[in-house]
């Protein structure tokens, strides 16, 4: 097992100074930092190996195609998909959900049908469903959550009925850190033959994901929250569903034969990857997965759960601070409010101490409304954070209290 300093030295940005202080990066739920291995791999690909894929018989193109295909295999293994063809490369979690809502949802849904989501969704897992609901006459139905920020399982069961045609919910909440009992929920939904999409944007950076064990039909995530490059993401879909779905976008690479009389489309995954994809992104994502695999989930979870426990204890002892989201199972994300200081003021003051946090509604306005807050401050950690940094956060928050006279 690598020690803390070794891990940190592998992420160049962690050495940076911000506002004259060494950077404390607690905005990992927004995007994670990149290890040198990923940066070097992308740089190397662009300087030594760059070519378009699937189009050339020349050396570089064949090698780039191979690298791209290997990235697909790597992702398939990473989430334990049954086959590589179940992995579609997209721009990110958002695009993946839009793809499913449009290509799968549009044919599936009809007037009066219901799409189940939860009150803790990111806007990315609300708005695409609303758009498709508007087109089809279906309705988006939110499952209630508890005051602690867990899914209300009674309400979940109560909301399932014969009109429920689709369910889409978050594996791990970006705003609260809650890890949802996805497997149990999926089991229940599948027993009624309801297709399920799981939004894994915040899960993949913190824990092992096994789509076959979860039993979901679709799983989505973004590479940039998994220590990989941005503009790159993954849609996993069960082959029997993908093979029946119409294309989402048209263009090159996704066709068999094009004529003005009619065009035939390739099988998945190519059917859903119109145009030149993010080749360097795929190569970078593969390297990020290699990095995480090498570190090992057991080690990552051990570091992160001790960070979470320490931070929860520290922040709980600040009298004017209230932690929002007290689920029993959480990733190291702490959302909180303070008595007199608004989250934006908190974030500005923390920034002046070199501490990067996010303030606002975290793209989860319905959740904020449900919890009766307009915004929170969120400190989201990763395995490269350290206890010292939590102490600095604690100090800085006490300074906020002082300025605001809490």
């Amino acid at each position: 097992m690598k020690d803390e300093e070794t891990i940190r030295s592998e992420f160049p940005i962690l050495d940076k100074e911000v506002n004259g202080k060494s950077l404390v990066y607690f905005d990992n739920a927004a995007t994670t930092q990149k290890p040198k291995a990923v940066i070097n791999r992308i740089s190397n690909f662009l300087s030594e190996e760059n070519a378009n894929i699937h189009r050339g018989v020349h050396h570089l193109s064949m090698n780039a195609t191979k690298a791209y295909d290997e990235a697909r295999s790597c992702v398939a293994k990473f989430i334990n998909a049954e086959s590589d063809n179940e992995i579609i490369f997209v721009r990110g979690a958002t695009e993946a959900i839009n793809l499913v809502a449009n290509s799968f949802g549009k044919n599936l849904l009809d007037t009066g049908d219901e799409i189940l989501v939860t009150e803790m969704e990111h806007h990315a897992n609300i708005v695409p469903w609303q758009l498709i609901a508007n087109k089809t006459g279906a309705k988006v139905i939110p499952i209630a959550i508890t005051d602690d920020g867990e899914i209300d399982l009674k309400d979940f069961e109560a909301k399932i009925n014969e009109r429920t045609k689709m369910a889409a919910f978050v594996h791990v909440s970006n705003a609260l850190g809650t890890v949802n009992p996805a497997k149990e929920m999926i089991h229940k939904l599948k027993s009624k033959n309801i297709p399920v999409l799981l939004d894994g944007a915040q899960a993949v950076g913190h824990q092992a994901v096994n789509v076959q064990e979860l039993g979901c039909d679709f799983y989505v995530f973004s590479s940039h929250k998994l220590f990989g490059p941005d503009g790159m993401g993954v849609l996993y879909g069960k082959h029997n569903l993908l093979s029946k779905m119409p294309p989402y976008q048209g263009g090159g690479d996704m066709i068999e034969v094009v004529s003005f009389e009619g065009t035939t489309f390739r099988e998945p995954p190519e059917r859903f990857e119109a145009g030149t994809p993010n080749i360097s992104g795929a190569v970078g994502l593969k390297e990020a997965i290699n990095y995480v695999n090498e570190l090992g989930w057991e080690n990552i979870e051990k570091i992160e759960s001790s960070l979470l426990n320490y931070a929860t204890e520290k922040l709980s002892s600040i009298p004017s601070l209230k932690i929002i989201g007290k689920a029993k199972r959480k990733v190291p994300v702490l959302s909180f409010t303070m008595e007199s200081a608004h989250p934006h003021d908190v974030a500005t003051i923390l920034d002046s101490k070199g501490i990067a946090v996010r303030a606002g509604h975290h793209c989860a306005q319905p959740l904020m409304k449900r919890l009766g807050v307009s915004a929170t401050t969120r400190a989201s950690m990763s395995f490269y954070n350290k206890v010292d940094e939590i102490d600095q956060l604690d100090e800085a928050l006490k300074y906020v209290s002082k300025i605001f006279g809490d």
Partner: protein
């Protein structure tokens, strides 16, 4: 950090704690909501005015210290002023907060608003300070919404 104490001066903190004229004006002749979609700051400005005079104004803010203080200070600056004067103040304040050049602060003219000048060093927060002023402008023009985006 010096810039930080420029931002969170006593005047700002005091307006934040006890915003002036925050009870929605009733009756009023116009109102506008201000929304900052990026950060979720929300406020409502009510005005009671004739063609030439802004008799009364209120600003009710759900947001950060900067937006609350800016709205509160605004109400104290524009109440009872001629509309032409209010319009001039709106323009001057926008310039003060967002103008390219470092402004010369006429402390008498700008009153407590000068305290908000520290926001210029915090680009992420400038919209917090201008939101109430955009809403006031919208309320006077009969629009019911102002946005910083």
């Amino acid at each position: 950090m010096e810039d930080l104490s420029d931002l969170y001066q006593e005047i700002i903190l005091s307006h934040n704690k006890r915003p002036r004229n925050s009870d929605p004006l009733d009756p009023s002749t116009g109102q506008a909501d201000g929304n900052n979609p990026l950060c979720g700051d929300k406020l409502t400005v009510h005005v009671r005015n004739t063609e030439s005079l802004l008799e009364a104004v209120s600003c009710d803010t759900d947001g950060c210290a900067i937006s609350r203080a800016s709205g509160s200070i605004m109400t104290t600056m524009v109440e009872g002023k001629l509309i032409t004067e209010v319009e001039r103040l709106i323009e001057e304040t926008k310039l003060l907060l967002t103008g390219e050049d470092e402004p010369e602060v006429d402390l008498v003219q700008q009153g407590d608003m000068a305290a908000l000048i520290g926001v210029r060093k915090f680009p992420a927060r400038i919209k917090c300070a201008t939101l109430a002023w955009h809403a006031l402008e919208a309320a006077l023009r009969g629009n019911d919404e102002a946005s910083t985006e």
